[in-house]
Symmetry: C2
């Protein structure tokens, strides 16, 4: 068995989510699968880590031949705990998801599923995040299977460049999408992000809410355009966000190099 | 007063941290300052948002002329709540910090202070994160003042390119550093990230720990090299992590565009 690829799975919807189980059911064909997922939903956790609280790892019953663990941490904690304390060898692939809900456009920034994907990438392991654009707990993930099979098979064979992972979003259209396309993340933003309420004592509190606004709905190069047209979007994404210095930042070079307070 | 620049301040060490107060004491010279910070430390929160729990905003006494608020949310929540429910006009600048501890190299990924900086950047506002390489709650932030003054003045005057913010780290050397340099983030990683303990019932738990390993200690272009040599590091960083498609990903283009499950 040790010659089979080792695939580490995580998500942010918890070990109990349908999306991760459907994902595992596909991945066991490709290798030995170990899933390390949060013990409860951790949506919106981005790349958060648990700094001061104790973390616990609980083994769960095997699922379709995969080893299953839940942890009390974030998705990034799950990857780190797997790498340092659960896995006996270095994984060949990290796969996160299948997320219940889109991680296209700016959603990628906040997604715990993409956080786990970035963490796998930071370890230097080829990493893929899959999301279906449906928040339904009982969503039909069979729409994703062909994309999962195709991309996982290609990444296991061909790898990914160091430091680059894939953010794959699959449109919830009731059947397997007709194609996939490499995209850029759509420029967009959330409007009215918090709804205000008044508690019984007369104090205001806020709950996350809002509506996603696509700032470039006609741009065929974007993930949102593809998803709106029934096409799977693949955004190659870097864990290193630093940029070459644009000329417009030239003033930074003119800073004094030997100043005193 | 309305003609003065409006500066939104946040951090992840909480409204009570010395670092943010020292930062505010410098910024009030440059404009009207509104600080919206977590009500308790939120280190390691990256770009996490609070998805299902109620958020509260509590006004605090003014500090050196700055308006002060604390929230029950993450650093990103603080920026979002400020933009949607606290500020009366769009800020000209977002400044986060001064963080107690380095956010150089991979630390940027997990930092709540950089999370707030990225969120300001996602709103299209010039944004800067400042960090001092000392975790001492009573650290000497006067070492940072010349860098804060110089960079804030230049960004207020010259702006930053859309979607690019600055990750500024200042070495804790007991006096004002002799210079600053534009850098790339050092390739590095954390070793032994979790220490295992046994609780009274005999169960294992883990606490975040570890040691940062610099994988390229001799690279003069990196932030860690600068900091080790008493130089302030400035890493221009993009909120959009998508990358141009490397040729090595060409297999993605050959995916079938009309397959069926």
């Amino acid at each position: 068995m040790d010659n089979r690829p080792l695939i580490l799975v995580s998500n942010d919807d918890s070990i109990y989510a349908k999306g991760v189980k459907e994902l595992i059911s596909r991945l066991v064909k490709f290798g030995d699968v170990v899933a390390v997922c949060p013990d409860a939903p951790r949506s919106g956790q981005s790349m958060a880590i648990t700094v001061n609280d104790p973390l616990r790892i609980t083994p769960m019953p095997d699922f379709e031949g995969a080893k299953m663990y839940k942890t009390s941490g974030t998705p990034v904690d799950c990857i780190k705990l797997a790498m340092h304390h659960i896995l006996k060898r270095r994984p060949d692939l990290v796969v996160a998801g299948i997320n219940h809900g889109s991680n296209a456009s700016v959603n990628e920034l906040y997604s715990g599923t993409m956080g786990a994907t970035f963490e796998g990438c930071a370890f230097g392991i080829p990493s893929i995040g899959f999301s279906l654009t449906s928040h339904d707990p009982d969503a039909d993930f069979t729409q994703c299977f062909r994309a999962v099979d195709t991309i996982v098979e290609k990444v296991l064979r061909g790898g990914l460049p160091e430091g680059i992972c894939l953010n794959v979003n699959i449109p919830d259209i009731g059947h397997t999408p007709a194609g996939m396309r490499i995209c850029t993340p759509c420029h967009g933003h959330w409007d009215d992000e918090y709804k205000a309420y008044t508690d019984p004592a007369g104090h205001t509190f806020y709950l996350l809410s809002g509506e996603f606004i696509n700032d470039e709905p006609d741009n065929e190069l974007t993930d949102e355009w593809c998803l709106a047209h029934g096409i799977i979007s693949i955004v190659p994404t870097s864990v290193n966000r630093s940029v070459l210095i644009p000329k417009s930042l030239a003033w930074l070079y003119s800073l004094p190099s030997d100043y005193k307070l």
